[in-house]
Amino acid sequence: MALRRISNRRSDLVKVKDSMAEAQLFSRRALVASALVLVAMLGLSARLVFLQVYNHEHYTTLSDSNRVRILPLPPTRGLIYDRNGVLLADNLSSHRLEVTPEQVEDLDAMLRELGTLVEITEQDISRFRKLSNRKPPYAGVPLRFQLSEAEVAQLAVNLHRFPGLEIKADLTRYYPLHERAAHVIGYVGRIDERELKIIDTSQYSGSTHIGKTGVEKSYEAMLHGRVGHRQVETNAQGRVLRVLESTQPVPGKNIYLTIDTRLQRMAEEALADYNGAIVAIDPRNGEILALVSMPVYDPNLFVNGISHKDFDALNQSPHRPLYNRALRGAYPPGSTIKPLVGLAGLEYGIMTAHKSTYCPGFFRLPNSEHRFRDWARGGHGWVRLDKAIYQSCDVYFYDLALKMGIDRFHAYLDQFGLGRHTGIDLDGEKNGLLPNKAWKREVHDQPWYMGETVIAGIGQGYMLTTPLQLAHSTAVLAQYGQQFKPRLLYATQEQGSDRVIPELPRSEPTVPMVSRANWDQVIRGMELVVHGRRGTARRVGKQAAYRIAGKTGTAQVFSLGQDEEYDADNLARHLHDHALFVAFAPASEPRIAIAVIAEHGGGGSSTAAPIAKQVLDAYLLELDPLYTATHENRSAG
């Protein structure tokens, strides 16, 4: 109705229109359009003349006497080394069995007969059928990988009986150090259905494998390289007669990781008795020196298809070896958070380092009977910041957090990368959780309670952090706020070239500083944790050859994998608290920052700190030669 009314009203305008002129305009335009159509048609004809007359012979040759095919030339995958050039991921030559469906008359009969020569499982056959549906009939489709030498010999003599069957030389990924740094390196595996949908299938037309986890996945594009191809003529049997044109593949780049394999080994051995994680970072540039998640697994199992039995064993183990705890394990940080809370208090001007708080062994909110208990039953008496850190006084931080309020608490700690991705170059990092009022409103649809602020002060309650975040925030503290993205890529190298191109540190915004003295006070407190007479980690400080600034932590259990999978035998250990320790050293010129989490390890001081000390010793006394030299000079003098 409305439309008709409009058009009626507008029909008055028709008088303005000059129908004659408009018809002529249209006729002119239609003529121009016909001319354009004619020109386009003639252009098309010119192209056809070019193909059918001018190049006729060329195409006739291609079409008549032979067949033109495109064969992909897969690129060689880049190797992975550690920072010192220790090989972590290698390519070994191997043999695979390929079938070209087009050349096989009776596929089922052939598969049956082949089965009498070499082992071919149902799994092999179903994968083969799936793959062959995706490829043109003239393309070879892999049937078996990793043929043994005996199998190759057995097949070679019988090959003539099976037209369309080929043994292809192949490169297969091998991780020579097996479990070492498995969570960092990751592994490659056969390309699966899901990946086929997202990858550039022509780039992968010659490739059978793709990075599944770890660095193998996050640097897939770099490691894979670019496919090449050969345009060939073949005879009716598919034998190559002539190469018409070829483009060489561009091999993937070699990658050097920031990991020091020796330190990684030390760290894995130090943590061996526990499930947990260790992350060690060079605070001066964000390089990850070691990244351990315990327990580990052998990535070689995955490369050519893991057996169901092996996979179930790994996947159903209550210890969850496939889970990268360093990146994905979200733990309550416990007391390790106290130095940052103290620093926030100083920087916000809520208190000074010299102001004392009385600790009677518990804390009460105004108008409330509920007692928030200190870990020391009898209390710590009058406590200043340094003592609050080295004695890990809870009441001091209950009080401080309450005065600060959760939103300021959140804002300050957020600057250290807690509760969000650190941006490490590995997939699957968890956010952890740094709560504030808005978050609780949004997720739980509840107001924030004061008591929750109180326990946030000692890293309990909603707060969750990953070991990587703890190491990273410790590194930022060690650098007085200077911040780098944690990074595993140390350098890259073109294959066949000697030139190693180092990767540059990736700077992040510096944490704003009110007063350097505030930071000094906090770091002094952390030094006293280890070197003070009454520090919670004084036992590791006793024989230390250098100064360590650290903080112990003990987190009430909040186990990974939720509890239902733990059986009764494990129950006792399962009830133990998580042991945490964060540290950097040497305190005056930090070269390494570390976070250790031993699940159900009991106390931070008894379990986690000694583990961290072993790793720090290994690095500062044996592995980092520059520091070792100056250190020896000093002790000699």
């Binding site: 439309l3 507008r10 028709v14 239609a30």
Partner: protein, 379 residues
């Protein structure tokens, strides 16, 4: 109802009383002949390209039959009737395009289908006629050449459905719908100066966008799109093979049923998007000349009928429909012979399958209806 329309209706029957069957059915003889010739030619090639599979031929025959029915039905509607319905069809089509993005079914990796319980169909198909109708409706009572304001509004009429179709994503249909709007604007008399200006702006913007607006991998994709032969393991394979098929056909062709490339499975999609190459291989340059001539005849006749139409709505609609048909032919043939990027458009009336045959024929039906219904008494 306006009086002139009443007059028009009353004259219809009188005028057609003593004419032949074609006139009574509102069909156009020459155009019908051209279309039938193309359809028959298509069945002949399809018989060869489809490896003499009678089932394929029957299914294609049914589709063509449906197409001719759609044409005859559409020809019965007088233009003023189409004009009144244009906005509703357009808005309905737009609604369905939005619905398809929201709840549509994914087929071959793109979201194009709307399942109505009984039938599944592509709303984007409707847009191929709905946009020209809407453009005609919009320009119908505007003074031409269009004012800047009219240009802006009519551009929106085109750009909105094109954007929705691109989102599915269906590049081929988006190209058709977009060009139909563009042609309508052109036929309505868009001034040369504006066209040159837009062209110039595009020439300036493209390299800027290339250098600053795109990431490396996006540039790579565009390059592969523009030059498929650089990716012989992907879409380039089809082009390499179709060029061999065309080239080896030579002047006279290898003869019907004698094409080797297509029969030996070297040419993928030989009966659908790449059927032009099969035709070229078997009938050679001479056959192609006749095919292109036939297509040119269909387009020229359609444009001629558009010129004779009595008012702006009919002219713009008829002209755009004629030129969409040209885009089909040119893009498909250009793609198969390797001078245009690979865009999935069929060779109209000849490629196997697709709902597009029905839409194309319905479009020609409209055209014939416009031509054969007597003009209203002059104002």
């Amino acid at each position: 109802m306006r009086t002139d329309l009443l007059v028009e209706l009353s004259t219809v029957d009188d005028a057609n009383q003593d004419r032949g069957l074609l006139r009574r059915l509102h069909l156009d003889g020459p155009l019908l002949l051209g279309l039938m010739a193309a359809a028959l030619l298509g069945l002949v090639v399809l018989y060869s390209a489809g490896r003499q599979n009678p089932d394929m031929l029957i299914r294609q025959g049914i589709r063509l039959g449906l197409g001719f029915v759609a044409m005859v039905v559409m020809a019965q509607f007088p233009p003023h009737f189409l004009r009144r319905w244009a906005p509703w069809i357009y808005l309905g089509g737009l609604g369905m395009l939005i619905a398809v993005l929201a709840v549509g079914e994914v087929g071959k990796g793109a979201q194009r289908w709307l399942d109505l319980g009984v039938v599944r169909f592509q709303p984007s198909e409707i847009m191929k006629v709905a946009v020209p109708m809407m453009m005609g409706w919009y320009f119908a009572d505007k003074p031409l050449p269009p004012t800047l304001r009219a240009i802006a509004i009519s551009s929106l009429i085109t750009v909105i459905p094109v954007g929705l179709i691109l989102k599915q994503p269906d590049l081929g249909t988006a190209l058709l719908v977009g060009s139909s709007g563009g042609f309508a604007l052109f036929l309505a008399g868009l001034s040369w100066r504006i066209m040159l200006g837009l062209g110039g702006a595009g020439l300036v913007a493209a390299p800027l966008f290339w250098s600053f607006g795109m990431r490396d991998y996006q540039r790579q994709r565009v390059l592969t799109f523009l030059d498929p032969e650089s990716d012989p393991l992907g879409s380039g394979w089809n082009i390499i093979q179709s060029k061999i098929a065309i080239g080896s056909g030579g002047l006279y062709g290898k003869g019907w049923l004698n094409g080797t490339q297509s029969h030996l499975d070297f040419l993928p999609e030989g009966s659908t998007d790449f059927i032009f190459a099969v035709f070229a291989e078997e009938f050679g340059l001479i056959g192609l000349g006749m095919l292109l001539g036939l297509y040119f005849f269909i387009i020229a006749r359609s444009l001629f009928m558009a010129v004779q139409a009595p008012n702006t709505f009919s002219r713009v609609l008829a002209g755009s429909l004629a030129l969409i048909f040209f885009v089909y032919v040119f893009v498909n043939a250009g793609m198969v012979s390797g001078i245009l990027p690979v865009v999935g458009l069929p060779l109209p009336l000849i490629s196997y399958g697709g709902t597009s045959i029905v839409t194309i024929m319905a479009g020609f039906g409209m055209l014939m209806g416009i031509h054969s219904h007597p003009r209203p008494l002059s104002r």
